[in-house]
């Protein structure tokens, strides 16, 4: 995987120039030239990222260096203790959960893990973030624990999809997701969801019912991967760019549709270019949001959570009653 994406061609060219200069003997003039080029890269990158197309956002959301759950845990939480297994069949490695402290208060953390960028072994261990039924059941088991002790839940969503394999179907991945959707709606504790990478259809939604749903600026959230949509509707997987456009999967699109509550900005050039800054921005949004949802009574929160999802599909906007 190269350091740059295909649409970052101008940046790749500048990086090449820096490489060439680096190969020359070090002089003050050369160093100044490198610094100038680096500044130029930042400007070009910020410019590019100001007007990304939906397909380009898909590429950014899937970037191997994009900060994932493990990075957020390290940056935002202290004393993370991982909890394993669904107590029925196995421990799924594509969904991780555990308790930790967030700004001094105990919380439960749940999220998908795709595996560290460039580490193929880890990616395989994590099944590239494709969770099996056990993952969804483990998540719910842990969330019930949080409910029992009135601890808020913070969810990070980043998955291509639930794992489409024989054993997934045999062990009821559909049932596992369905039960989570139903039970998370009435779970009696605050839930804040952050879509931090790929929100891959049911596999994402299966842990993403909450009081607030935040989305990182360049994350995506879709009913089907653009490639799959292109293959079915266009009968040509190469139409993924058109499908990404048509499906309206970007954070601004979903904010317009009232499917998410807020967009968490990313550093110019995307979270993968500056994970620490990206984590700080998530931290800021999370602290504010968590305080908000913890401030209301359990009854009011339950009602608001129901109404939030109940009103997805708006009368007079998304559908009408009669001609």
């Amino acid at each position: 995987m190269p350091d740059t994406l295909d649409f970052e061609e101008p940046i790749a060219a500048l990086l090449k120039e820096i490489d060439t200069l680096n190969a020359q003997p070090a002089t003050d003039a050369r160093n100044r030239e490198i610094e100038a080029l680096q500044r130029r890269i930042q400007t070009v990158r910020a410019e590019l990222y100001r007007s990304l197309t939906p397909w380009q956002r898909v590429q950014v959301a899937r970037h191997p260096n994009r900060p994932g759950l493990e990075f957020f845990i390290e940056r935002l939480f202290t004393g993370f203790t991982e909890l394993h297994g669904d107590r029925r069949f196995a421990d799924d490695h594509a969904i991780m959960t555990g308790f930790a402290e967030y700004r001094g208060d105990p919380v439960l953390v749940v999220g998908h893990v795709k595996g560290a960028g460039g580490d193929t072994k880890d990616k395989i261990f994590r099944n590239f973030g494709y969770a099996r039924p056990e993952g969804y059941r483990k998540a719910l088991r842990a969330m019930r624990l949080a409910e029992k002790f009135s601890r808020p839940i913070v969810v990070f969503v980043d998955t291509p999809a639930a794992y489409p394999g024989i054993e997934s179907e045999e062990r009821g991945v559909a049932e596992a997701i369905a039960v989570n959707l139903r039970d998370m709606m009435v779970l009696d504790t605050p839930i804040v969801v952050i879509v931090s990478g790929e929100g891959g259809s049911g596999g994402a939604l299966g842990i993403a019912v909450g009081d607030r749903v935040l989305m990182q600026e360049f994350a995506i959230y879709s009913v089907i991967p653009p490639e799959g949509c292109a293959a079915i509707l266009w009968r040509d997987a190469a139409k993924k760019v058109e499908a990404a456009e048509a499906l309206k999967i970007t954070a601004p699109d979903l904010l317009d549709a009232a499917i998410i509550d807020a967009i968490v900005p990313e550093p110019p050039g995307g979270a993968h270019t500056n994970p620490a800054a990206a984590a700080a921005l998530v931290d800021e949004a999370l602290a504010r949001t968590l305080a908000d949802v913890c401030a209301v009574t359990s009854v009011a929160r339950h009602d608001a959570r129901y109404r939030k999802f109940r009103s997805m599909g708006r009368l007079g906007i998304d559908f009408v009653d009669g001609e």
Partner: protein, 302 residues
């Protein structure tokens, strides 16, 4: 938009008026046993092959006719998608909607209605595969949710007959969110201790399976129906091998523990009625008795 609620007269649909959706022509070749069946015989047998019991796919109205004792009252009949994404693939979504409206006579892929099943008052939501593959967009999600909320308000059981390829791509993430919306309404139905029976027919896949289809107090399937989450082709591409015979069929799911029972269509109504009886549903009073009960209540004071 008007601030007042439009009051609507209930639309009573006669069980006799609806056209049968058995294939055109005098004869049909059964895909199960390859034999020619007289269309009238098929229709008289609830679209089940009299020779091999192959279950032909049936339309939403035919399903209601089969489950209800007689007439039913349809709900939310006029909900229509606005095509919120202005979606176009090789064809505009609007054109697909229009073609489906013309071919099915419905405005979207579901009918929701109240009637009686062996004398038990119940709401049935019945999906129509002929309408964009029975796919679930905002209208399907809204109609099912309203049906569940109505069941809670009126304290009656609900039966949802699934027949769907899953969430409707042309409405994007809005379709996906219907899964959460419906499942949330079902959580409330659970708390109200009201019966919900999911009937899974061929096919029940994708986002429909991963939400309400799997959440019944009972999950009942018709024989040999395709039921699953991921599509078989997607799975084959992932695992790079052929899927075993019978994978994702009702019998496979029953063996794996995902279904309560598989029921032949010709016995479905009776089995549902028995289950509703177990769950405490009571016979609806005759219409005359209802009017009397209302009439004897003291008139509200002005």
């Amino acid at each position: 938009m008007a601030w007042f609620k439009k009051t609507k007269k209930p639309i009573v649909t006669s069980a006799k008026e609806k056209p049968s959706r058995v294939p055109e022509g005098l004869w049909v070749k059964c895909p199960g046993c390859q034999q020619a069946i007289y269309n009238k015989d098929l229709a008289a047998n609830l679209s089940v092959c009299p020779k091999c019991s192959h279950h032909f796919r049936i339309g939403a109205a035919e399903r209601l006719r089969m489950l209800f004792d007689g007439d039913w009252v349809e709900h939310d009949k006029d909900l229509v998608s606005t095509d919120p994404l202005r979606f176009t693939d090789t064809k505009p979504y609007r054109a697909r909607l229009k073609a489906s409206v013309e071919s099915t006579g419905l405005k979207d892929a579901i009918i929701t209605a109240t009637g009686t099943i062996e004398g038990l008052r119940a709401i049935v939501a019945s999906m129509e595969y002929g309408f964009i593959g029975g796919s679930m967009g905002v209208v399907v999600g809204e109609k099912i949710t309203r049906a569940i909320e109505r069941a809670i308000d009126e304290r009656v059981p609900i039966v949802i007959v699934c027949c769907s390829g899953g969430a409707r791509m042309m409405e994007g993430a809005r379709s996906l969110m219907q899964m959460a919306k419906i499942s949330g309404a079902l959580a409330r139905l659970d708390r109200a201790r009201l019966p919900y029976i999911a009937v899974l027919t061929d096919p029940t896949t994708g986002g429909v399976t991963a939400s309400f289809a799997m959440l019944g107090d009972l999950n009942i399937a018709e024989p040999k129906a395709q039921i699953g989450f991921a599509g078989p082709r997607v799975i084959e591409q992932t695992i790079r091998q052929k899927l075993p015979e019978g994978f994702q069929r009702s019998e496979f799911l029953l063996e794996k523990g995902m279904l309560d029972l598989i029921v032949d269509r010709r016995e479905l109504k009776q089995v549902i009625a028995n289950a509703l009886g177990f769950m405490g549903a009571v016979k609806a009073p005759a219409p005359a008795a209802v009017e009397e009960a209302v009439a004897t209540e003291p008139a509200p004071q002005a």
